[in-house]
């Protein structure tokens, strides 16, 4: 098994003040979410509805997708189907080439990150400007986003200041957020005005109407889509919901879960291209139907990408998004990514204490920590695990299946290493790097019991 997450996390934690700051910033968002959710007496009911609507959608996906395609096409939207990331990128490239377009703006979309669209287009000589502020910052720095809602949450304002000084010629050392935001705004304004094509994500697509909704707090998706003559929206097929009336459930859940806002600042509804505009929608599978077919993991397709599970996750908060080395980090990413590439992401389901906070915070009731547990079983069964770990586990299994051996081993050493060899499967005892070992008592509980317990009386 790869140890990527553990190693990357260790690197992140080496800067402890920054780790604390990261942890506290995200916890602040989590607390805002608590307050917002507490304001709604029907919160748990909403979660149940959200979950059930998604159950219904996933059980009838093909008919809803068909319905969506018909309605959207009738509205004048061009619908494309992409079976994987490559096809998704090629479809977009084709549209760009057809129009001979140079100037492209994109609003934040985790799907295009998942498909590595930016790299693909760049490779083909096409530049795209990310217009979400956080996304623009990480784009300047040639880094992937570290969080699906707050892409630059791993950066402090000092980092942003340096980045903007390098790319936007802002004053060196000026860390004033207002000043920096204004600089970004001026820079992006020109990009919007000049743009010939806008790429956006999709938060919800509605089968009944053939329309879709994009939620942003900066209005950048709207700015792009409203100025450019061509609009391409990209969605994973799980973004579908059956009816427009279901939107109310999800819009209330999404903003509160994501940032603690009662509603996202801009929830923009798109139904058809405006006169002289071209509107495309690319519907992507990229492993989703495979996940739909895995009974234990299909629930993960309910995800509305609010990132509440990131903010609540004690591991995510202390290891940073990049330690997950995938587009979608955090607890839900650790379920989605092994589906995309089990070998490369075999470490992720283990990057959790299984504390269960994610499951309970999730607005659509995904049993996240149970799925992490199940992935571990699958990954071990498929053989993506270190031999040393396997040997340690086999040893333990033998010891614990045989009471006499267990007691002998206990007596012999009464040390962690004898009973739990996995704790010392490396040259150094990892437990005691930063912790003392428990002090071994003279007698076990059983020894005491034989002398003092009822069985002896």
């Amino acid at each position: 098994m790869t140890v990527k997450h553990a190693a990357l996390a260790e690197k992140f934690i080496a800067d402890e003040p920054r780790t604390d700051w990261h942890d506290e910033t995200l916890w602040f968002v989590r607390e805002k979410r608590d307050k917002a959710a507490h304001g709604l007496p029907e919160w748990e009911q909403l979660r149940e509805w959200g979950s059930q609507i998604k159950n219904n959608t996933l059980s009838n996906l093909s008919s809803y997708l068909k319905e969506f395609e018909e309605k959207a096409t009738a509205n004048g939207i061009k619908v494309h189907w992409a079976s994987d990331a490559k096809e998704h990128n090629e479809i977009i490239h084709k549209i760009i080439k057809k129009h001979g377009i140079q100037k492209i703006v994109k609003s934040k979309s985790m799907l295009t990150e998942e498909c590595h669209l930016n790299e693909y287009l760049q490779h083909n000589g096409i530049e795209v400007v990310d217009t979400d502020l956080g996304e623009r910052i990480v784009q300047f720095r040639k880094e992937p986003p570290s969080h699906i809602v707050l892409p630059a949450i791993h950066l402090k304002k000092e980092d942003v200041s340096t980045t903007f000084h390098d790319h936007l010629q802002t004053e060196k050392g000026n860390n004033d957020p207002q000043y920096l935001t204004e600089a970004a705004r001026q820079h992006l304004r020109n990009k919007f005005v000049e743009s010939e094509l806008a790429i956006t994500g999709v938060n919800f697509a509605i089968a009944e109407t053939g329309g879709f909704v994009v939620c942003t707090n900066e209005g950048n998706a709207d700015m792009g889509a409203h100025t450019a003559p061509v609009h391409i929206a990209c969605m994973g097929f799980e973004k579908l919901i059956p009816k427009a009336e279901h939107l109310s459930v999800f819009l209330r859940l999404l903003a509160r879960s994501a940032t603690g806002q009662p509603i996202t600042t801009y929830s923009s509804h798109f139904h058809k291209p405006r006169p002289n505009q071209e509107m495309h929608i690319v519907i992507v599978d990229n492993g989703r139907s495979k996940q739909l077919g895995r009974e234990d993991f299909r629930n993960s397709l309910k995800c509305i990408r609010c990132a509440a599970c990131f903010n609540t996750c004690p591991v995510y908060r202390r290891s940073g998004g990049h330690s997950y080395h995938t587009a979608v980090a955090g607890p839900i990413g650790s379920i989605l990514n092994p589906n995309l590439d089990m070998k490369a992401n075999a470490d992720l389901p283990f990057a959790s204490t299984l504390c269960g906070s994610c499951t309970n915070v999730c607005p659509v009731k995904i049993n996240i920590h149970e799925q992490l547990w199940k992935w571990r079983q699958v990954i071990v069964a498929e053989g993506y695990v270190d031999t040393s770990k396997k040997l340690g586990m086999k040893g333990m299994s033998f010891v614990f299946s045989n009471p006499k051996v267990y007691r002998f081993m206990g007596k012999m050493g009464r040390g962690v290493m004898h009973l739990f060899p996995f704790m010392v499967n490396n040259k150094l005892n990892i437990w005691s790097k930063q912790r003392e070992m428990p002090v071994a008592p003279k007698e076990s509980f059983r020894d005491w019991y034989l002398k003092n317990g009822k069985n002896q009386k």
């Binding site: 997450h5 553990a6 996390a9 260790e10 934690i13 780790t19 942890d23 608590d34 959710a37 507490h38 709604l40 007496p41 748990e44 591991v315 202390r318 283990f350 990057a351 959790s352 204490t353 299984l354 504390c355 269960g356 906070s357 499951t359 915070v361 571990r376 079983q377 071990v380 069964a381 695990v385 586990m393 333990m396 299994s397 033998f398 614990f400 299946s401 267990y406 206990g410 009464r414 009973l419 739990f420 996995f422 437990w431 790097k433 930063q434 912790r435 003392e436 070992m437 428990p438 002090v439 071994a440 008592p441 007698e443 076990s444 509980f445 059983r446 019991y449 317990g453 009822k454 069985n455």
Partner: protein, 245 residues
């Protein structure tokens, strides 16, 4: 009421006092307690590491030891949760099911089955309660900040019956301590950082002791406290309820 005492392997080997306290509290409360002598481990360390397939032998041994009692009680929420969710024995499915349905974590057994209303114990110290995740979220021993449901805590309900105790709450009352089974070694850096943060919040409250219902969390926190040379100690809730002094 025939109660079987399950003392998880690491408590048996490293924390016999927790086992003794658990046994004595149960006996004081009038239970007829038996400690099945061939017990070992519940199999959780293997299962949580992805090796549930290797816990068969453990499971069979567990069923052999614990079939036929009215209740099974253990001072470890985490092990109880594992047994409740995963215990399996193809040859004795009925017995396994019976065990899964009648195994209780120590504090939950006291509040829900014995319905304890008073406890004869005094503990004149400042104490911070550490909620273990498996106890809190897995076994529903206390409410959690993620869910918008009424607040409650079974362990705190018991601690409040102890004389002279001063209970404090950590700022993030239900944050994980980072033990997480094999997580504590395979993700050592994150695990220790989480433990340090947990400790700091309790130390901000100037507690004498950190207590909880899961010895594994306490073992992890104790390891860090000792390495830091801290005067804060850890103590299992059974020891407090048993009148540790």
């Amino acid at each position: 009421m025939k109660v079987a005492l399950f003392i998880p392997c690491y408590i048996d080997q490293f924390y016999p006092n927790v086992g003794i306290a658990t046994l004595q509290v149960l006996e004081k409360l009038g239970c007829d307690v038996t400690f099945p002598l061939q017990q070992t481990c519940c199999g959780q360390p293997m299962a949580n590491s992805g090796f549930a397939s290797l816990s068969k032998g453990c499971d069979i041994n567990f069923v052999q030891n614990f079939a036929g009692f009215d209740y099974i009680v253990a001072p470890s929420g985490s092990c109880v949760l594992h047994v409740k969710e995963h215990l399996q024995d193809d040859k004795h499915p009925q017995e396994a099911l019976q065990i899964r349905n009648t195994i209780y974590e120590f504090t939950e057994f006291l509040t829900d089955i014995l319905k304890v209303e008073s406890i004869n114990a005094s503990f004149p110290f400042k104490v911070g309660m550490h909620n273990s995740c498996h106890g809190q979220r897995g076994l529903n021993l206390s409410s959690m900040t993620e869910r918008m449901l009424p607040e409650f805590s079974k362990p705190e309900q018991l601690l409040n019956m102890v004389k002279d105790i001063t209970l404090t709450k950590a700022k993030r009352n239900d944050e994980c301590c980072g033990f997480g089974g094999t997580f504590c070694v395979f993700e050592e850096a994150v695990s220790v950082k989480m433990g340090k943060d947990r400790i700091k919040e309790h130390e901000d409250n100037e507690v004498d002791y950190i207590t909880g219902g899961d010895t594994s969390c306490l073992m992890h926190l104790e390891g860090i406290l000792k390495r830091q040379g801290s005067t804060t100690k850890t103590i299992h809730i059974a020891e407090i309820l048993n009148g540790f002094l």
